[in-house]
C-alpha cells in the first residue's frame, strides 16, 4: 500500500508538472514569435496590423531625416521594389547607414508608418541579414517576371 501510494504520488506530481510546463512553453512561444515582412509585403497589406513584426531591407539613400530633438529619426526601408517609412526614437546602432541592410522590429502605425521599437543593423560590412538578402532577391525576381510578361 505504502509503495503503491508513493509511486502514485510520483506519477501524479510528474503529470501535473509536465502539463504546467507544456502550457507555459506553448503560451510563451505563441505570444513571442515575430514574423518577418519585406516592404513589398507590407505595402500589399500582408503584415499584421496590431502585432509586432520585423521589417527588413535596405535603408534608402538620402531618406534619413532627424527631427529637431535629435533623437527621432525617419528613414525609408526598401527592397528595391516598394518603400516603407520607419520612425524610431533613440540612438541608432553603430552600423546603421544609408544604402545598407537593416532589420527593424515594431508595429505598423497610423498612415502606414512603421514604428520601430528596435533597430538592428549588420555587424560588419560584408554581412547581410539573410532575411534581407532573401527579400531583395524575391523583389528582384518579381520585377524580372513582370518585365518578361510585358
Amino acid at each position: 500500500m505504502k509503495a503503491r501510494y508513493k509511486r502514485m504520488m510520483f506519477i501524479v506530481l510528474g503529470l501535473v508538472a509536465v502539463t504546467a510546463i507544456a502550457a507555459l512553453i506553448l503560451n510563451a512561444l505563441q505570444s513571442n514569435i515575430n514574423h518577418f515582412f519585406s516592404p513589398t509585403e507590407v505595402v500589399a497589406n500582408e503584415a499584421p496590423k496590431d502585432r509586432t513584426f520585423r521589417l527588413g531591407g535596405l535603408v534608402e539613400v538620402d531618406s534619413v531625416k532627424r527631427e529637431d530633438d535629435g533623437l527621432t529619426v525617419h528613414f525609408n526601408v526598401t527592397d528595391n521594389a516598394e518603400v516603407v517609412t520607419v520612425k524610431y526614437t533613440g540612438i541608432l546602432p553603430d552600423l546603421f547607414s544609408e544604402g545598407q541592410g537593416v532589420v527593424a522590429q515594431g508595429k505598423l502605425g497610423a498612415g502606414g508608418i512603421f514604428e520601430a521599437e528596435e533597430v538592428l543593423a549588420k555587424h560588419d560590412e560584408t554581412y547581410m541579414p539573410p532575411e534581407v538578402a532573401d527579400a531583395l532577391e524575391k523583389a528582384e525576381a518579381e520585377a524580372a517576371a513582370q518585365g518578361a510578361a510585358q
Binding site: L24, A28, L29, Y127
Partner: protein
Amino acid sequence: MIPEIGQFALIVALCLAIVQGIFPILGAQLNIRPWMAMARPVAQGQFIFVAISFACLVYTFVTDDYSVLYTASHSNSLLPVQYKVAGVWGGHEGSLLLWAMMLGLWTFLVSIFSKNLPDEMVARVLGVLGLIAVGFLLFLLLTSNPFERLIPAAPDGRDLNPLLQDFGLIIHPPMLYMGYVGFSVAFAFAIAALMGGRLDAAWARWSRPWTIIAWSFLGGGIGLGSWWAYYELGWGGWWFWDPVENASLMPWLVGTALIHSLAVTEKRGGFKSWTVLLAIIAFSLSLLGTFLVRSGVITSVHAFATDPERGTFILGFLFLVVVSSLLLFAWRAPKIGQGGKFDLVSKETMLLANNVILTVISAAVLLGTVYPIIIETLASLGIVEATNKVSVGAPYFNAIFVPLLVPLVFLVGMGPVARWKKADMPDMLRQLRWAFIASAIVAVVVPFLMGGWSWMAALGMVLAAWILTTAAYSVRQRFKATNTELPWGHRLNSIPRSFYGMHIAHIGVAICIVGGTMVSNYMSDKDVRMDIGDTVTVGGYTFRFDGVIETKGPNFTANQGLIQVLQDGHELMVLRPEKRVYTVQTMPMTEAAIDPNIWRDLYVSLGEPVSGGAWSVRVYHKPFVSWLWAGAILMALGGVVAMTDRRYRVMARREIKAKSEADTVTPKMATEKA
C-alpha cells in the same frame, strides 16, 4: 615555411588521434595490455603536435605573414600585438584550432592526473577523447584549414573586426572553450563506463572533479561574455538571448544538472543511467553550440561566415556522436543497475526535481533557439505551410526562465538541509522558519528602500534572501555537528571543501539574482540631445556635456565626449565615452564610459553628432549591475573550491588499493563483477 610546419603538425596530430582513438579502446575490450598502455603517450603526443600547430598560427599573426589567407583576413600590421595574438581565435578557422587545442589540453591533463584510475578506464577515456579529436582535426583539415596560403600575398591584412578588438576577446573565448570542450571529459567518462559496464560510486568520484571544473570554466566564460557585451556594445544590455549565448547556456544548464546528479550517484549510487545520459546530452549540446555558431545557420554577432559545407560536416559529426552514444546507452545502460530507494520527501527527490527543472529550461531554450530553423526546414520539406521567416523574441525566454527559476531556487534552499533517503517535511519547515520570515521581510523592505514597490523586485529579493539565509543556516548546522572540543579553525577545516564549494556557488546564484532583479526593475536611462553645457539628471546624478575632443589611438581615430558627473552640485568625475572610427575597415564603434561600483554603474555612450556641436547621448544609471558578474564569479569559484575536495584524491587512491588487494583474479573480471 612556418605555416607549412603548422599544417604538417596538424596532420601528425590527426594520425596520432586516430591511433589514440582505436588501439586503447580495442585494447581495453580485448584485454591487450600493450594497446591500452599506448593511450597516455599517444594522447600526450597528440596534444604537443596540436600545440605546435597553434603556435605556428600565432607566429604568422605576430610576424604579419599575410601570405596566409586566414591571417590576412583577420589581422593588420597596425593591430596592437595583444590583439594580433587574440586575433588567432577571432575567426572561424582559428577558433576551431583553439577548440582542438583545448581538447588536446584536457586530454593531456587527463593523461597526467589519472594515476589512480584503472588502466582500462584510462584507455577508454583517452580513446573516446581521441575519437572526438579525430572529428575536429578532420574538420579543420578538410573544411577549415587555417594555414591556407594566399598567393600573391596581401600587402596588408583586412584587420580584425573592431568589435573584437578588446580585452574581452583575449580571455572570453579561451575560457568559454575550456568549458565547452571540458564536457568532452565528462562525456568520455560516461562512454567509458558504458563500455566497461562499470558505473559505481568510485566512477562518480573520478568524473566529478572533471565535470565540476569544466562547468566552472563554462560559467566563467559565459559571465565574461555577458560583461564584455555589456561594456562593448554601447547600450548596456547584459543578456540578449542571442542564439550564440543560448548555445553556451544550454550545456551549462545541463552541466549544472549533471553535477547535481553526479552527487546522487556518488553518495547514494542512484540516478546512474540518468547521470550518463546527462553527460551525453551536455557534450552533445556543446557540439550543437559549435554547430549553431560556426555553421552560420543562425545569424548573429558571432557568425562571421556562412558556409554550408562546414555546417554539414559538424551536423554530420554531431549526428554520429549523438546516435552512436545513445545506441551504446540503450544497449549498455540496463547493465549499470539502479540505485537505492528513496522517499517522496528526500534529498534525492529534491535533486531529481532540480534536474528536471534545469533540463526543462534547457529544452525550452533549445526550442526557442532552433524554432526558426525547424519551421523553415519543415516548410522546405512541404510538411507545414511556408510562411515568412520567424524569430523568437527575448520575452519568450524570460517568460519561461523566470517562473521556472522560482521552484529551482526554493530547492536551492531546501536541498542542502534535507536528508538523504527520507526527509521530514514538517521538521524542515520548522528548521527553516526563520529563513522564511527573514526572506519575506527582505522582500517587502528592499523594494521600498529602492524607491518603489514592484512584484518582480519583491520576488527577486525573496529568492535571493532565501538562498542566503538557508545557506547561513546550513553552514551553522554543519559547524555545530563538528567536534566541539577542537579549536575553531580545525572545526571549520574538518568540513569538506565540497560543502563550502556548494554554498559559495549557491550564494553566487543569489548574488546574480540580486543584480538581475535590481537592474531590471530600478534602472533608469535617458536618450537625450545635448548641446555643450546641457545637463541631464538620471538616478540622482547630474551629467553635464562639456563637448567633444578628437583623439587618436593606434589604429583608430575617435571623438571623445567629456561628460562631467555631478551630485548635489559637487563635481565627481569626468566620463569619456568615445565614438571611434577604425581606419582599416572604416567602421564606427561606440565605446561606452562606465563608472562602476558595488551599488551602481554610471554608463554613458555617445550617439551621433546632431547639429552645431550637439550630440545625442545615452545615459544610464544601473543599480547593482556588477552583482551579476560577481555572482557568476562566485559560482565558478564554488566549483573550483569543490573540485579541490580531499576525498577526490585520497578516497580514490584508497579505493583502488582496496580493490587491487581484494581482487586476486584478473582486474577485468573484477570490474565486470562490480
